[in-house]
Symmetry: C2
Subunit: 211 residues, 2 copies
């Protein structure tokens, strides 16, 4: 697959933002076939139909490009969770639905989820420090809706844990553990996926809610 790839036409004067989108799309598409480090800026540029240095007119570094994908993934997750919250009431059934919404998002957009949650950005000099707190801020915003939901359940007297923030962090971890392993270790001999997910949600519900 070494298609020479047609150069896309030069953008008219004010259309830089459009090219930016094309680059991000191309990058996310490529990231689905290999991790962030094995995809090169040259591959991204070729897929976007431009030369490699042209990328740097739109993103200061490769990490910045990734950070932008990260922000957008968080935004989409937040949108989905907010969607669910529209017809939300603090009941066990809705709890299950909310958990399912998160899992659905991760498994239906595994590449976005990987970029947002599973790219190593831990240590000082690297990713997070240089990209400012932008992805982090976006992540926090997505998290807030989750916090509010659990607070509702707590206020309705449905939770075991008397600290709703602790419960939220604990549930988030529980969800992330399942989807991140399903995404990153798909070759593991998992039991049938839907059965596993149903069981997982049931366990989280029993662990979190009374009755």
């Amino acid at each position: 697959m070494k298609s020479p790839q047609v150069r896309s036409p030069r953008k008219p004067k004010g259309q830089g933002a459009e090219r930016r989108e094309e680059i991000l799309d191309a990058a996310l598409r490529l990231f689905s076939e290999g991790d962030v480090h094995t995809v090169s800026t040259r591959q991204i540029a070729e897929a976007a139909g431009i030369s490699q240095p042209a990328l740097y007119a739109y993103f200061a570094t490769k990490d910045d490009l990734i950070a932008e994908l990260c922000v957008r993934a968080f935004a989409r997750l937040k949108a989905r969770m907010d969607d669910g919250r529209a017809r939300w009431t603090p009941t066990p059934e809705m709890f299950d639905r909310a958990m399912m919404t998160y899992i659905d998002f991760a498994l239906s957009e595994p590449d976005a989820y990987r970029v947002a949650f599973m790219v190593e950005k831990s240590h000082d000099g690297s990713f997070l420090a240089r990209t400012g707190g932008r992805p982090m801020a976006a992540g926090m915003e997505a998290f807030q809706g989750f916090v509010a939901m659990i607070a509702d359940l707590h206020a309705a007297g449905l939770t075991h844990d008397d600290d709703p923030l602790r419960l939220t962090q604990t549930l988030w971890a529980g969800l992330h553990g399942l989807v991140s392993l399903l995404i990153a270790r798909s070759e593991f001999p998992w039991i049938e996926r839907e059965t596993l997910i149903a069981g997982h949600i049931a366990m989280l519900r029993r662990g979190a809610l009374k009755g």
Copy 2:
């Protein structure tokens, strides 16, 4: 920190295995200060006191070196879990202890845990395919002890879930979610760590066990 680093003395004839250990030690030490991709083979070689190409006498590729660290991390996890199983009885208290053992391992050896569980090795051409199933096999072995424990609890009639394998996978995911986020997203505004861990284990116990 650009120490020229004294070259370590040449090993006598049969001592190649010893140098191999030195390389692995040096690599794991470096991986604690940056992710696997930002640490170069030249840095590893310098830390081990040899030239960069000399690495390739001991490991076919950098991925193979990482795979070896992965195998060893799984082995240490298995050792710790087996340790705990020595005085194991299927009770809720011991359940808590087992969960704690896993979390303790991950948080006391975060670098090993990261290499073992959090290095992207998803897609075809890359890591897993080329390193054979060795890390995977080591991982499965560590997992088996876990399976046996949950099966004990199930046999004792203590579990909610009627499928012990499903419960095992679900609990593992629950544990992994917490420790992987604590390790990779340490900058997140977590509540106090011990409180969080205690709450997490309590939630998992309620979700998994009756009463």
